[in-house]
């Protein structure tokens, strides 16, 4: 076979080998560093929007339970604060979620109600908020207060942020009322057993 007739076969073989190697690398990388993917949807309600100044008879309640009826998720809610490392303290059982206690009360006329939970736990498996990447705009999130008030919110947006770049207004206490649900997402680093990103779902009160 002449070299002139050989080069197309060699070219094809080289391209094929390159693609095969790329495919293997992608597969191995995907297995070594799995991800929780979440696409951005909807428009994020701005925390800077002024809340109504009108006095309200109902000032809100400490949330005791979270329901995501469309996903058959029910989770107890416990008050949490900020740890010495500056990170939000999340309840250990992944089926329990934490309400940032310095923030707005559930059903409050102003401010952000922040509820966060583990997407998963090494010892106890998948968490209650693992459904956040698949929640759709319009789905309902319901908080039940410790005195029985039922506060309904409607999902309006979802975003994924690098943990260090969580928007500063996420924990806003003065703007328009909204509910923010937070869990982890993005690439999972098995060496340090941590995700790189946060998945944040925004919901507004149902009038």
């Amino acid at each position: 076979m002449s070299p002139r007739r050989r080069w197309p076969a060699a070219f094809l073989a080289l391209c094929g080998a390159a693609l095969l190697v790329t495919g293997v690398v992608l597969f191995v990388d995907g297995q070594a560093a799995p991800r929780v993917e979440a696409t951005s949807v909807g428009d994020v309600p701005l925390a800077t929007t002024s809340a109504s100044a009108a006095p309200r008879a109902f000032v809100g309640e400490v949330p005791a339970r979270l329901d995501l009826p469309g996903r058959a998720v029910t989770a107890p809610v416990v008050p949490v604060g900020t740890g010495p490392d500056g990170a939000l303290v999340i309840p250990d059982p992944p089926q329990t979620v934490g309400w940032w206690a310095p923030g707005a009360l559930a059903g409050s006329g102003s401010g952000t109600v922040v509820v966060a939970g583990h997407v998963d736990s090494r010892l106890e498996g998948i968490g209650a908020l693992a459904v956040l990447p698949v929640l759709t705009v319009g789905e309902e999130a319901v908080l039940t207060g410790e005195r029985g008030a039922v506060l309904r919110y409607r999902v309006v947006a979802r975003r994924e942020f690098v943990k260090a770049a969580l928007p500063p207004d996420t924990f806003d206490r003065t703007g328009a009322p909204r509910l923010v649900l937070i869990t982890c997402g993005g690439r999972f680093d098995s060496r340090i057993r941590s995700y790189e990103d946060n998945i944040v779902v925004y919901a507004e009160p149902v009038p």
Binding site: A9, L12, A13, G16, A17, A18, L19, L20, V21, T22, G23, L26, F27, Q31, P34, R35, V36, E37, A51, A53, A54, P55, V59, E61, V62, P79, G81, T82, G86, A87, L88, I90, P94, W100, A101, P102, A104, L105, S108, G111, A116, G117, H118, D120, E124, G125, I126, G127, K163, A164, L166, F171, R173, T174, I182, T183, C184, F188, R193, S194
Partner: protein
């Protein structure tokens, strides 16, 4: 909500001090003031007597609400605080609020402005919000409110200090207030960190990797497609070579 009320009250407090100084030197040429929250119109509100101007009367009303909010915040902290941080700070907040209240009322009276003792709607909302809480949620919200109030007051004090039109008396008052506020801010900041009331910088909510693994299992499409195409091309090259040899 708590912080908005705090912002309103604290942010105007120092401005009110500045305006008080300005009003004392004013000629009183402005129109009589409209009623403002917390401020009761004097029996003879006309400025022809050289009494408080419209702006000063409004500032007195807002400053009065600021001091009332501080007293209310301190009182609530004393009554409902559970942690050492809030229990320790609340009496200071009450005494500083009461001292400011007395100072403002004295200055207002000197200029013929009578001040009420009723909390405005926003301060009432602040109190109602805090009263709905108990235990850790109360303490942390109380500390956040205190933090916010002090920060807003510091901003107001700096505004007065940087204002070229502010009187020397106003600047001196702002400097004095800023020194006290800095000390209080350090106390409250430290207490907030200890009580877990500071605003989080991150959320670490996953240690297992199961959620990621289940996502990865369901979608290895791209690696398989790329690798598959590579195998097809290599196969094509082999077929080409075989055919060329057989032709030869």
């Amino acid at each position: 909500m708590t912080t908005r009320s705090a912002r309103l009250t604290a942010g105007t407090l120092l401005v009110a001090v500045a305006l008080t100084g300005a009003a004392a030197c004013s000629s009183g040429e402005q129109a009589p003031a409209a009623p403002t929250p917390g401020a009761v119109a004097p029996p003879n509100p006309g400025d022809a007597t050289g009494q408080a101007t419209d702006a000063a009367r409004q500032a007195f009303g807002q400053a009065n609400q600021g001091a009332l909010a501080l007293v209310a915040l301190g009182g609530l902290g004393t009554d409902k605080g559970v942690g050492d941080q809030v229990k320790g700070l609340a009496p200071d907040v009450t005494s500083q609020g009461q001292a400011l209240l007395d100072q403002i009322k004295q200055a207002a009276t000197a200029q013929g402005v009578a001040l009420g003792d009723q909390l405005d709607a926003q301060t009432q909302a602040l109190v109602a919000d805090l009263q709905s809480r108990s235990g850790q949620p109360f303490d942390t919200a109380w500390l956040q409110a205190a933090n916010s109030l002090i920060e807003q007051a510091r901003t107001a004090a700096n505004t007065v200090l940087n204002d070229p039109n502010a009187s020397a008396e106003a600047k001196a008052a702002a400097r004095d207030a800023l020194a006290r506020l800095d000390a209080l801010a350090a106390q409250v900041g430290s207490a907030s960190s200890s009580a877990g009331a500071s605003t989080p910088g991150s959320v670490n909510a996953g240690t297992g990797g199961q959620a990621a693994a289940s996502s990865a299992e369901s979608a290895p499409v791209l690696p398989l497609a790329v690798g598959g195409l590579g195998i097809v091309l290599i196969g094509g090259a082999a077929a080409w070579t075989r055919r060329s040899r057989s032709d030869a």
